[in-house]
Symmetry: C2
Subunit: 156 residues, 2 copies
């Protein structure tokens, strides 16, 4: 029988053994989870962006799949990984998330809602043809940019 890594086994025996597995191999688990989430946004946006720009042939099924993924990701429950105390002042270089995300007057949650709306609108038209992608990607990109501009530290 092959060895399996901590996270695999942990799923299988979560109830019967004392294996801690969220977080994997170091680093703050919440930060790692939200960076993973962003990675999946990026991957799916990359597919759609390349088709919108004509760098890749339009494929209705692939476009629809990517847009559906974005819509689903944007509605995941992210409360646990946008956890208070996981900003860049608390954790340092591990994250670029600014404390303002969690401060009074933060619009981060609202922007998240705008992203979900924009992604749903994109998913509604992504299978309709290459021309539909560009206009529908605009509001998605605006939501991404709005949050990053106000709530993410500059890259070093």
């Amino acid at each position: 029988m092959k060895k399996t890594c901590t996270f695999v086994l942990s799923a299988a025996i979560a109830v019967t053994a004392g294996v801690a597995f969220a977080g994997g191999h170091g680093g703050n688990p919440a930060v790692k989870a939200r960076q993973a989430h962003m990675q999946l946004y990026s991957f799916n946006l990359g597919i759609l962006g390349a088709m919108a720009k004509g760098e890749v042939d339009y494929d209705a099924d692939v476009a629809q799949g990517a847009a559906d993924n974005l819509a689903a990701l944007s509605t995941l429950n992210q409360a646990r990984y946008w956890a208070p105390g996981t900003d860049n002042e608390a954790l340092g270089e591990e994250t670029r998330a600014l404390p303002a995300i969690w401060q009074e007057g933060s619009t981060a949650g609202q922007i998240g809602g705008q992203l979900a709306e924009a992604a749903a609108s994109l998913a509604a038209v992504a299978g309709d043809g290459q021309e539909a992608l560009g206009p529908a990607l605009g509001p998605v990109g605006q939501a991404c940019g709005a949050c990053h501009e106000d709530y993410r530290a500059e890259a070093n």
Copy 2:
């Protein structure tokens, strides 16, 4: 105006500029995407596993949120990141995905379907109380383990 990283801008201007963004800062984009996907499985399983074991107080909303996340993640369209040619023989240490995933007779897709079913069943009961978690996590863990055992190389 703050600088924004490649992936942010790329979303905003995907249609008008020639910025390539899927993949981020090196590494195979498909591998990075599926590892991100696994990271999100792990994070949400961690929440549920800790509650099931009594390490963390049961919270119906949190449990439901994590289980809903797992169910949504398990039904994402993953075809693009389980791309042929991205196994560990082709890419080396970057991935532990075995070529068998893509070979005739592979049951990886079938196991993925079992995971989706198990996650849906978990989501159906996750808000019902702490006792419901353990039995419902079992089949989820079995699906994780089945795929990892047959289709993932041992860790070095």
